[in-house]
Amino acid sequence: MMRAAWLMLCKDLRLFVRDRVALLLAVALPLVLVTVFGAVMANIGGGSSGMPAVELTVFDADGSAASAELLAALAAVDGLELEHAPAGSTREALRDAVHDGDATFVLIIPAGYAEGKDLELLRDPGDTLGQQLLSIGLLRALFATQGPDLAWDVQRRVLASAGIPESWMARVDGFTLPFRAAMEAMFADAEAAGLLDDGEAAAAGDGAEDGARDAEAEPDGLAGGAGEGARPDTAAGAAADGGAADIDFQQLMTAMLPLTTEDVLPEGRDAQITYQVSHAVSGMTVMMLMFSLMGYARGLLEERDAGTLRRLLVAPIDPRAVLFSKFLGAALLGLVLTAMLFVYAALLFDLDVASRWDTLLVVSAATAASVTGFVLLIAVLAKSDKQADGLSTLLILVMSSVGGAWVPLILMPPVVRQIARFTLPYWSIDAYQGSFWYGQHWTDAPMLRNLGVMLALAVTLTAAAAIVFRRRYLNP
């Protein structure tokens, strides 16, 4: 069987390479899409409309009423999904969680928070999209719990970060106190009128805007002293609007909020790439792989229509070799295409491919195998070229969009994230991201889970294709 499969494989690949249109579609289209999506996703600065949610792991080391109030406020923010770290977690363990990719953001409420100690945020710095969503959520929660006090605190922090001496703060307090008193009275009135009961977040948002406008109204000498990188009005505006493109939220949040931030970068990750770029490259690679390999698998239908399949099936060979050769050819082509796309992405986006080549090879092999099983099943199920085209295009586009190939799943509603797990691209993209983003090796547990699912899909889909092939073409 191997000899016959090898002969047919060589023949198929030769025919594929000679079909210039198919070759162009298989090679050029993925490159164009990777370029476009990579560039677009790299420049996404925000865009929160309230629907997306970011997972935030929280750990309350303070255990005070203030910390409980903050946690409640965070839980009330639509854009955040809180996960409580186990009691007794150490800071090191929490840091490891970010390092290993188990968590992207960890907020530690330190002992002494109620007395004014700053919050601590451990974060994966590359997830700029999640970071901006988190910024909005944190601002809302903090304003909700601290009211106008936060605005004054932010103001002092911004001025301090801009170099204004502490001794000058009294001067600031001097001319802002009347306004502060008016603001506090307004908040008290609003609370008494019940306006804050079911709309704390919105009120807090308004407060942020008020605070921002107030900061903007500062005398020229102080406002100008705040510097370019930490303008409170910009921060509040970004929070209220849902994002501006060129804001360094890390600087901004550190300057504005009672928060210290530590970036936890997994080993081996190129700090220059962003989550969106690696995601776009992974997503487009998987989607285009499905399209390209479908083109290859359609060769089975072309062989059937041309009569060559009949000729193969009456040759003195194991008929299973026909399908096996298609599997080998498609899988091999898939490996070559993914390698080509990653090399291209490495050149274009500085994606570090070389240092993780072994993991990428294993993931690509599993991806190619599972995608091959999928396209073979479509090819044997379809009764015509048109059927194959229609069915494959529909399934590939739906699976790609739901499975997170187009946009990160963080931008999807929770129900879609659950559905995504039933799609083929999800596991592949997750595995690629595990390598690119979290620096996981293919022997790491999360990666083995993804590989296992992909291989199970490959076996199941290929077996199904073999059964249909047998029923349809062998002794029908």
């Binding site: 025919l15 000679r18 060559t308 009456v314 060979i317």
Partner: protein, 278 residues
Amino acid sequence: MSAAGPGGAHGASAAEQALGSAGATRAATGALLEVRDLAYSYGERKAVDGLSFEVRRGEIFGLLGPNGAGKTTAIGCLCGLLRPAAGQLRFDGQPFEPSRHPSQRARLGVVPQELALYDGLTARENLRFFGGLYGVADLGVEVERGIELAGLVARADDRVKTFSGGMKRRLNLAAALLADPALLLLDEPMVGVDPQSRHHILESIERQADDGRAVLYTSHAMDEVQRLCDRLAIVDHGRLVGTGSASQLASQAGLAGADLEQTFLALTGHSLRDGASA
């Protein structure tokens, strides 16, 4: 073995050896392929229903029938593409189950109805590929022989998609002959060819029989069949309605001296089914 059917029993009698109006130059020897009570159904529809005949070494045996009569299904069973629901096949005296035993197909050369060639490959590459599948020894020599047989020496390295219909048909036949088969199954191999190619192919087929191969030939072209075939079987609705030489068939149909087309129409046409054969 004798073939039994509605047209009567036909052993290897002297009368049957008489070739009537069909080609009379070959002397067929013993049966190579024996088909007895072959049956195959697509669901409820019986495509082949108790078909029996034999094909002898050195003869060209024609399998005729209207569209949908079961010819292609019967060939599918003979070449292993379909597994018969009933009946027995013997090849060279041995049980023959090509659908179960792929190695048994090595003795068959199949020319399907379609131009079963790869358009993107050259003539030489096509032959090399199919020869490789059949495990042809001395493949290079056989490929060149095939190129010559197809009359494509000057175009051997051109891609098939640049060929005319006739060139493709010739190559189609050459591909089936690469492995030196004992039995050649030709399923309407002459569709869409010009007179020159047709003549070339017919001569090639006759040469195969002259060389001692058994040839099973299906076609709708009565003149081809009449020129080429030593014996014929006419099938309709999956059943054998007549077998023998063209003249014997004419006699069976009560049309002594009639040409094959008249005989065919008499045996398969509307009048027969309405009892005209009585």
